[in-house]
């Protein structure tokens, strides 16, 4: 890597070498039985160089000939991709303590045993179909740049994902567990999905209309996706964000405080720098309903004339891989601050409403506008504070700038879910369409 950086330095104004390696093992159970074991070890390297305000970019898996990678990057310069930003200077990042060496001692046999234990626990207490996965991974990132940055980050991840499926479908209630090293999944996780599933086995078809909706953490990404879009420095620059020029303004309910917190070393994957080598900070986006910040990578920060916020990540939708992806503004460590009531209390407070337990097609609909409209997979119907059954064909729809004004309360704790740590959120007056033959 050093050699490549040195070669690149000679022919550019600024340059950066990014290396990532990821090893992982996962075991999956279907219908309560062991189905698959998969192992992987993949590494790769990516080069960015800047010359006269233009970007060169190239990547590869293997580096037998560094000069080839350099030639590929130089060949892209005439294309004229603009890069007017300065790569970050050397600094000492906060140590997220994301790596626990214990992860190395974990065997696939132990993963299988833990999966069997969970499958047996669930299987004894329900007739719903049990699918689950148990996995571990170790990720290593190293980043060198021509301004002296030499950063390394290592993270260990252990996790489990439990789901109980409704008959004839893949609709399921789900919950995830993540940690830096192996520890048995606490009983409250399987107990939670059992309590929802076992109470909602019968199919119901009540009339639709506006009603309360209790979004589980697993489905909140469908709403937060719209906030991510609107607060992105890229969309502010492109002038397609409804939040443009509204910092300081009250946008949502007082109950909502949304923070990006890469530094929280209690959680797995904490880190002190982003994929461009910019320092990470605890970064509030929404505080008590008011918009506090947009977020930026180097490129869009320069475009808008603001300091970079440490949100340049090499992520892409639909599983693009880090080395082949240029950094873009991204929120990877979202936390929605919890509220005051337990989940059971929130459920009991529903005179008539739906627990949104699965979101189907959350990517459809006008995301920049804040519109959402997705299928419930499943939606669990509640009346008089009690679960009555599962809805067969139903959708929720609305616009986040309406529905997130009507937050009644949030659960008093957060759970790991898609793209963040969220509590369950109770919204009032959400449009629910319910169908059936």
């Amino acid at each position: 890597m050093e050699q490549l950086l040195e070669q690149a330095r000679r022919v550019s104004d600024q340059c950066e070498v990014f290396f990532q390696e990821q090893r992982s093992d996962s075991v999956s159970f279907e219908n309560g039985l062991l189905k698959n074991i998969e192992s992987r070890d993949q590494s790769g390297i990516s080069l960015r160089l800047i010359r006269e305000g233009r970007l060169g970019f190239a990547y590869t898996r293997n580096l037998p000939r560094p000069e080839e990678l350099l030639q590929n990057a130089l060949a892209t310069l005439p294309g004229g991709v603009e890069a007017r930003y300065a790569l970050p200077e050397r600094f000492v990042p906060v140590d997220g303590r994301a790596y626990d060496p214990d992860i190395e001692n974990l065997t696939n046999t132990q993963l299988v045993e833990e999966g069997r234990r969970l499958a047996a626990y669930l299987g004894e207490k329900t007739d719903g179909q049990v699918n689950l996965a148990v996995y571990r991974s170790v990720t290593r990132v190293r980043l060198l740049n021509s301004r002296g940055s030499d950063l390394e980050w290592r993270a260990s991840n252990y996790g489990a994902h439990l789901s109980l499926m409704y008959p004839g479908s893949y609709n399921a209630v789900e919950r995830s567990w993540t940690a830096k090293k192996f520890s048995p999944v606490p009983e409250e996780l399987p107990a939670f999905i059992l309590s929802l599933y076992n109470a909602s086995k019968s199919k119901v078809r009540p009339p639709g209309g506006r009603m309360k909706c209790l979004f589980l953490p697993e489905t909140l990404y469908a709403l937060i996706w719209r906030i991510q879009s609107a607060a992105s420095g890229k969309n502010i620059f492109e002038n397609i964000s409804p939040l443009k020029d509204r910092v300081g303004e009250k946008i949502f309910s007082d109950h909502l405080t949304l923070i990006d917190d890469p530094l929280d070393s209690l959680r797995p994957s904490a880190r002190g720098f982003d994929d461009e080598g910019t320092p990470c900070t605890r970064y509030p986006l929404i505080e008590k309903g008011a918009l506090v910040n947009y977020y930026f990578d180097l490129h869009y920060a320069e475009k808008l004339g603001v300091p970079p916020s440490g949100h340049g990540y090499r992520t892409a939708p639909w599983g693009g891989e880090a080395i082949s992806t240029k950094p873009r503004p991204s929120l990877e460590y979202l936390v929605l601050e919890p509220g005051r009531r337990t989940f059971a209390e929130l459920l009991r407070s529903l005179d008539r409403g739906v627990v949104v337990a699965g979101a189907l097609g959350a990517h459809s609909g006008n995301i920049p506008n804040g519109d959402f409209s997705f299928g419930l997979a499943p939606g669990i119907y509640v009346e008089g504070g009690e679960i009555r059954g599962v809805l067969e064909e139903a959708m929720v729809a609305g616009n986040i700038y309406d529905v997130l004004r009507n937050v009644e309360d949030l659960e008093d704790r957060v759970h790991p879910a898609a793209e963040g740590y969220y509590p369950a959120v109770l919204l009032d007056g959400v449009s629910v369409a319910i169908g059936g033959s």
């Binding site: 279907e30 998969e38 898996r61 492109e238 959350a362 459809s364 920049p368 997705f374 059936g436």
Partner: protein, 454 residues
Amino acid sequence: MFPQLEAILAKVEADYADLRYEIKQETIITFNGRELTQVGTNATDGFVLRVLKRGGFSSVTFTREDQAAWAVRTALENAGLLASQVSQPVSLAPVPAREEIFLPLLPEDPRRVPLEEKLELTRRYNEIPYRSSGIATTQTQYAEICREKYFINSEGSRLREDLVTTRLGGTITSRDGTLTQTVRVGGGGSDGFARLRHQDGEFAEKTKIALDLLKAEPVEAGAYNVVLNPDLTGVFTHEAFGHFSEADLIEDAPTMRERLALGALLGNEQVSITDDPTPPGQLGFYRYDDEGVAVRPTALLRQGVLVGRLHSRRTAAAFGEPVSGHCVAEDYRYPPIIRMGTIYLEPGEKSLAELLQDLGDGLYLLNALGGQTSGENFTFGAEYGYQVRGGRQHKMVRDINISGNLYQTLQRITGVGNDLTLSRTGGCGKGQLNVRSCHGGPHVLMEQMVIGGR
């Protein structure tokens, strides 16, 4: 490459093993707005090893040749662990060993078109929307993905196939005050660069739709009778039905397997569905899947009756049904899984005008915006639509998301058009992306579809 692969495979002591090596070359050109944000060609490569031993079937992926010994050891250990735990040992359906080098003939091989020319074409299309006022931004991308695949297995198969996929398109976003509307634009295919030329009309037409949508009315939530255009019929066929034809999705879901037994009546007699990636020239074309099985046309639904399924060698053996050649990986980073190739609802007799007449009052919906399935339920969005009264098109509507239930919806197709059209872009994300996932159908009339509105 084959001698290196054979040297690795020779070290595997198992009942069956296969090894796939791929070089993936990508050329990407991206405009965000009017700004070029990415341009370049890069190649990456890697290996996928699969091992079957005493009924345990496991896979390992790796990217450096010096990890081969680790990969062999790990795959054997994982297979051993599976063998000791599974109640039903895995077996693979027999297929003939094949040796072939198959490099598809492309009318205009994109790898021979200079990067500058690709950049100019992308820039030209990206500029078209900006001729109109009211366009906020565009995202236009040229993507050329070449998978150079080498496959060998312990049964004597030696296969080399190239899959070259191109796409030029993206999104156009219009804006009025704080309201924005986005439509998809462009297309691509598996038959070379020529297909991407002469698309100016497509970009102009979609610009107009993006602008018209600013004035369209949000649709009211409720249940409607609808006519779907071929793109939506294709997405419906893919999401609502196609995924349940994938045997790996139902293999270990007994309640679904029961409802989806061959012979089950799922739709009415107007509905027939086939998956056939074999015709050259369409997006989903390939000859061998990533298990070295030659793909064949597979009838799935005949006049509403389930008659076939998409299989891997593993599921074909487990179901006791014939292999179909549908076990495909995104690239060298993944072991293959069962995928649709080119799935379509077969055409009927009616013209669009006749279907709209039959519809009477309802909605005419066009062009898909994403889609997802969860087994019996599915959701997909439509870019736009029109209110239909007395068989005639009226006002444009927007914010259309459709939800339905597999077992009910196939019964609700009451009219099938005569205008089969296949999609020019793919992108099914079943854990891995499949850029060649092709779908299609004619216009169809469906009753009582749940629309979420906004």
